[in-house]
Amino acid sequence: MPISVNALFFAAYRDLVGHSGLAVELREGATVGDLVSELRERGAPFDRLPAEPAVAVNRTYAFLDEPLSADDEVAFIPPVAGG
């Protein structure tokens, strides 16, 4: 059973890919790293994303080996600069 997750792109990453978010289908048991690979393999503009971006899964920072579930929200987080 494939699963669908919601990828979100902020700030510089949104500018890079030209999307603020999109749904991506992944095989069951896929990780954040698999999502990144799946997107980068689509070619331009997604191949402009870094191979090892910072991400948050369901609004919590996560490593690339975090497994994903259906409807997870995976945010691509450019280096932050608040304050």
């Binding site: 510089a12 500018d15 948050a56 600069a81 304050g83």
Partner: protein, 170 residues
């Protein structure tokens, strides 16, 4: 009462300060971050703050609670602004109070340092020459490539201090 908010409303530092203080407290510290007119030698005309809003309030609240534990009181208020700001406008205000001054200085500093390390906020500088750039930032700890298991148990702050990773777009 701990207060943490992220939003587009202009910030009044005196009002943030008024959220803290009690008859037990001998010290209060207010930190104010302001948009300044220059960065790395370039003239700046304004700043846009973007945020992952749903997550940012969670992270700010988490930072506030960590700081309150160091402070030893629950008298802590922090507000971060979003949207388009002019030079001189307040981007962040942090107010704390405690019986003694050391804890107030420490907690105030902790909040602003952690905001810069891990609050999902990005700023885009507008330069006097009309160009626009995302300000180089910091990779938050606890994300990205997995570290070896021993390191992973306690994310190392130092890891988050470089500015690579697509932080700048012309």
């Amino acid at each position: 009462m701990i207060h943490a908010a992220v939003g587009p409303e202009p910030i009044d530092p005196a009002q943030v300060l008024s959220r803290v203080g009690s008859a037990e407290d001998g010290a209060a510290v207010l930190f104010v971050g302001v948009v300044r007119d220059h960065a790395d030698g370039r003239s700046v005309s304004g700043m846009r703050y973007d945020t992952y809003h749903e997550m940012a309030e969670d992270v700010l609240r988490e930072i506030a609670h960590e700081a309150a534990a160091r402070l030893g009181t629950d008298r802590l208020a922090v507000v971060h602004r979003t949207g388009e700001l002019d030079i001189g406008e307040v981007s962040v205000a942090i107010a704390v109070s405690s019986p003694h001054r050391a804890e107030s200085f420490d907690a105030s500093r902790y909040v602003i340092e952690e905001i810069k390390k891990r609050l999902p906020v990005w700023k885009q500088e507008h330069y006097a020459d009309g160009r626009v750039e995302w300000v180089p930032g910091t990779v938050p700890p606890g994300t990205g490539a997995p570290m070896d298991p021993s390191a992973r148990e306690r994310p190392v702050a130092g890891r988050g201090s470089h500015t690579a990773g697509g932080g700048q777009v012309a």
